[in-house]
C-alpha cells in the first residue's frame, strides 16, 4: 500500500468518514476475529476489541500523537492483539504473565501497551456511567459538558441546592461502582511505566 493510500485511510478515520471506516473494517475484521476466537474469545469480544482499537486509533489521530513505524494494518492488528491479551490476562484466563508481551512477532507491543491501559480505564468509566439512573446520567452529562450549576438547575428544573446535592450523590455512586469492579483494582495495581 502506498504512503498516499495509508494517509487517506488515516485522514478518513480521523474525519469519521463512514465509507473509509467501512472499508477499513472489512479489510481487518477477519484477522481480528480469527485471533480472538482462537484465543478463547467470542463474537461479542471480537466487536469489543475491534471497536476499542478503532477508538484508540481515532483518539491518537485526533491528538496528533500517532507514531506508526509499520503499515497501518500491522499497527492496528498489534493494537487489537494487545487489547485482547491484556483482557485475558486480567481475567486470569492466561496464567503466564510472561507470555503476554514477549511476542517476537510484534515489537510494537511496548509502545502500545501503555495506550491500552489508559483506554481500559476509559472503557470502565463509560461502562458504569451507562449504568447510572437516567436522572444521574442527565445531571452528570450536563456537569461533564461544562455547564454551570445555574444552567443545570434550570435545565433539570431542580433548585440549585438540590442539583448540587444530586450531582454529589451521582458522582459518588459512579466512583464507588467503578472502584468495586475487579478490573479497576487490576488497573490500579499495575505498575505504570
Amino acid at each position: 500500500m502506498s504512503v498516499q493510500e495509508e494517509r487517506n485511510i488515516l485522514e478518513g478515520i480521523s474525519r469519521g468518514d463512514e465509507a473509509v471506516i467501512k472499508t477499513f473494517y472489512r479489510t481487518n475484521i477477519g484477522h481480528i476475529k480469527r485471533y480472538v476466537l482462537q484465543n478463547s474469545g467470542n463474537e461479542a469480544d471480537v466487536e469489543d476489541v475491534f471497536q476499542d482499537a478503532m477508538v484508540l486509533l481515532y483518539q491518537k489521530l485526533k491528538s496528533n500523537s500517532l507514531v506508526v513505524t509499520a503499515s497501518i494494518h500491522t499497527y492496528f492488528y498489534a493494537v487489537c492483539k494487545n487489547i485482547w491479551r491484556n483482557r485475558l490476562r486480567k481475567n486470569s484466563k492466561m496464567i503466564h504473565k510472561a507470555e503476554v508481551f514477549d511476542d517476537p512477532e510484534d515489537q510494537l507491543s511496548e509502545d502500545i501497551s501503555k495506550d491500552i491501559e489508559q483506554k481500559e480505564r476509559e472503557h470502565l468509566y463509560r461502562k458504569y456511567f451507562n449504568k447510572l439512573s437516567d436522572t444521574c446520567k442527565k445531571v452528570l452529562g450536563l456537569v461533564f459538558a461544562g455547564k454551570s450549576m445555574k444552567e443545570i438547575a434550570s435545565e433539570t428544573e431542580y433548585s440549585e441546592g438540590y442539583a448540587r446535592k444530586k450531582k454529589f450523590d451521582c458522582k459518588k455512586s459512579l466512583i464507588e461502582m467503578i472502584e468495586k469492579d475487579p478490573m479497576y483494582q487490576e488497573l490500579k495495581t499495575e505498575p505504570e511505566n
Binding site: G16, D45, Q51, M54, Y58, T135, F144, A145, F168, K172
Partner: protein, 253 residues
C-alpha cells in the same frame, strides 16, 4: 478521607481552576499531605476527562452502526449465493442430524420444550425520562400484548433513528434493541434476532439480557451447543441470569 459534598466541590473547583487564591493554597496544602486525596483528585480528573469527550462517544456509536450494516450485508450476500449447493448440503445435514437425533433420543422437540419453558419476552421498562416518548408508548403497549408482527416496522424505525442520532442515549437504544430482538424471535426471524442481540456490547447494562436472549435464540434454532457456551458466559458474568443459566445448562444434553 470521607467523601462529602464539600470535598467534591473543592476538588471540582480545583480542577476547573475556580478556587480563590486563598482556597487554592489551603487545598494544595491538604493535597500535599494526603495520598488518598491525591488519588481522589486524580479519579475526578480522569472521570471528567473521559466523560466530557462526546466526540469519542459519537465515533463509537458510528462504529457500532457500521458493524451492524456490514453484518446485515454479509447475511444478505451469503443467503443469495450458491443456492443449489446450500440446499443440497442442508438436506444432507438434515438427514444426518435427524438420524443422529433419532438414535440419541434427543430431538427438536426437546429443544423446543426447553425453549418454551425458559423463554419469556423481555419485559417493558420505563423509557428514558425526558425523552420524546410519544409514539414509543403505543409501540410498547402493543409489544406487551404480543403484537410483534404489527410493531416490527415501527420498532426498526425507532432503533434506526436512535442509532443515527450520534448523541442519542445508547442504553435506551439497547433497550429498544431488546424489544426488536424479541419481536424477531416471535416472528420466526431468528437470524435477525441474533444480529440485534450481538450488537449489544459488553459495556452495555443490557449486555446480560442480550446474551440470555441470544442463547435462547440458538436454542430455538436447535443449536444447543452455541446456547451452552453463552450460558457458561452468563454464569461467569455472575449476574441476574446466573441461576437460570445454571438450570438450563443442566437440562441441555
Amino acid at each position: 478521607m470521607e467523601r462529602n459534598q464539600e470535598l467534591f466541590e473543592k476538588i471540582e473547583g480545583y480542577l476547573n481552576k475556580t478556587l480563590s487564591q486563598e482556597e487554592l493554597t489551603a487545598f494544595e496544602k491538604e493535597v500535599m499531605a494526603s495520598t488518598a486525596l491525591q488519588e481522589e483528585v486524580e479519579k475526578h480528573r480522569v472521570l471528567h476527562e473521559t466523560l466530557s469527550d462526546t466526540d469519542t462517544l459519537a465515533f463509537r456509536e458510528k462504529l457500532i452502526r457500521i458493524s451492524q450494516e456490514i453484518k446485515a450485508e454479509e447475511q444478505a450476500t451469503s443467503s443469495g449465493s450458491s443456492h443449489y449447493w446450500k440446499i443440497a448440503a442442508s438436506i444432507a445435514v438434515i438427514i444426518g442430524v435427524s438420524a443422529l437425533l433419532w438414535f440419541s433420543g434427543f430431538g427438536k422437540d426437546q429443544n423446543e420444550d426447553l425453549y418454551a419453558t425458559y423463554y419469556e419476552p423481555f419485559p417493558v421498562e420505563d423509557t428514558t425520562r425526558g425523552e420524546d416518548t410519544q409514539g414509543f408508548v403505543d409501540v410498547l403497549t402493543e409489544y406487551s400484548k404480543g403484537e410483534y408482527q404489527q410493531i416490527l416496522p415501527k420498532l426498526e424505525e425507532i432503533v434506526n433513528a436512535k442509532q443515527t442520532d450520534s448523541l442519542g442515549n445508547r442504553s435506551s437504544t439497547n433497550q429498544f434493541n431488546l424489544y426488536l430482538g424479541n419481536s424477531y424471535m416471535n416472528t420466526n426471524q431468528e437470524k435477525k434476532a441474533i444480529l440485534v442481540f450481538e450488537s449489544i456490547a459488553k459495556s452495555s447494562k443490557y449486555y446480560e439480557n442480550a446474551q440470555w436472549y441470544l442463547g435462547l435464540t440458538y436454542l430455538k434454532l436447535g443449536k444447543p451447543t452455541k446456547t451452552k457456551s453463552i450460558l457458561e458466559g452468563l454464569i461467569q458474568y455472575n449476574g441476574v441470569y446466573k441461576d437460570k443459566s445454571v438450570k438450563l445448562l443442566e437440562e441441555l444434553p
